[in-house]
Symmetry: C2
Subunit: 103 residues, 2 copies
DNA sequence: CTCGCATATCCGGATAATCGAATATGCTAA
DNA sequence: TTAGCATATTCGATTATCCGGATATGCGAG
């Protein structure tokens, strides 16, 4: 199952980057065009477009042209469920570390 | 929330690698010591230990010494839930691609 | 067609991840 | 103590990832 695991890892890899995580949560609120993401995340357009390309290549997001704008939206809403689980685990870990330090 | 997102991404990053995914699924079956993983995954011991270190640093796995062996186990079982969601999404994507090709 | 905005790609350079052999450390038993 | 197995770390080399400025492409308005 090497190959399947590689594909699995590729998908995980695609969401394992701070800017891309922010993009996914933003798109979960509502579909956006590129410049909305640029403004919202205060990140250069070049950088946003590069990350969007990575998400597109993994089919995590979908695009729809509307005039000169390109709207992005989540292809699979349950990617947010997976991210939320990871977030809650991280929260548990941080809390546990904090408790250890403070006796 | 840049910092929180970075931590979130670090955790995601730690699970986004084929060998580490295989290790996590193996540990989900049962706790193992290092050489069991080496045999099971047919991967050099150096490589396994390096990946285990990364998982340890993120508190994803826990260790317990027993004599000269070190047993590893999952620190948070729900990491498997997150991985399963990602796997099911990947499966959907692959199926969709397949359907497109075969009309 | 041309202009201008929206978006995508190209480029070079910096940083980080991966590998496995070699080597070090830790523990047990004799 | 020493021998030997289990595990961890160091090393150098390779490969991947990231950044953002510069630039290219796509589309609508005029």
């Amino acid at each position: 199952m090497r190959e399947a695991t590689d594909l699995h890892a590729n998908l995980c890899q695609a969401i394992a980057e701070p800017t891309r995580i922010s993009i996914l949560y933003a798109l979960n609120e509502k579909p956006c065009h590129v410049n909305e993401l640029v403004d919202q995340l205060k990140t250069p357009q070049t950088t946003i477009s590069r990350h969007l390309k990575i998400l597109r290549e993994q089919s995590i997001v979908e695009t729809q042209r509307e005039g000169s704008f390109v709207f992005y939206s989540l292809g699979y809403q349950r990617i947010i469920q997976a991210l939320d689980i990871m977030k809650s685990i991280k929260l548990d870990i941080v809390r546990k570390e904090h408790d250890l330090i403070h006796k």
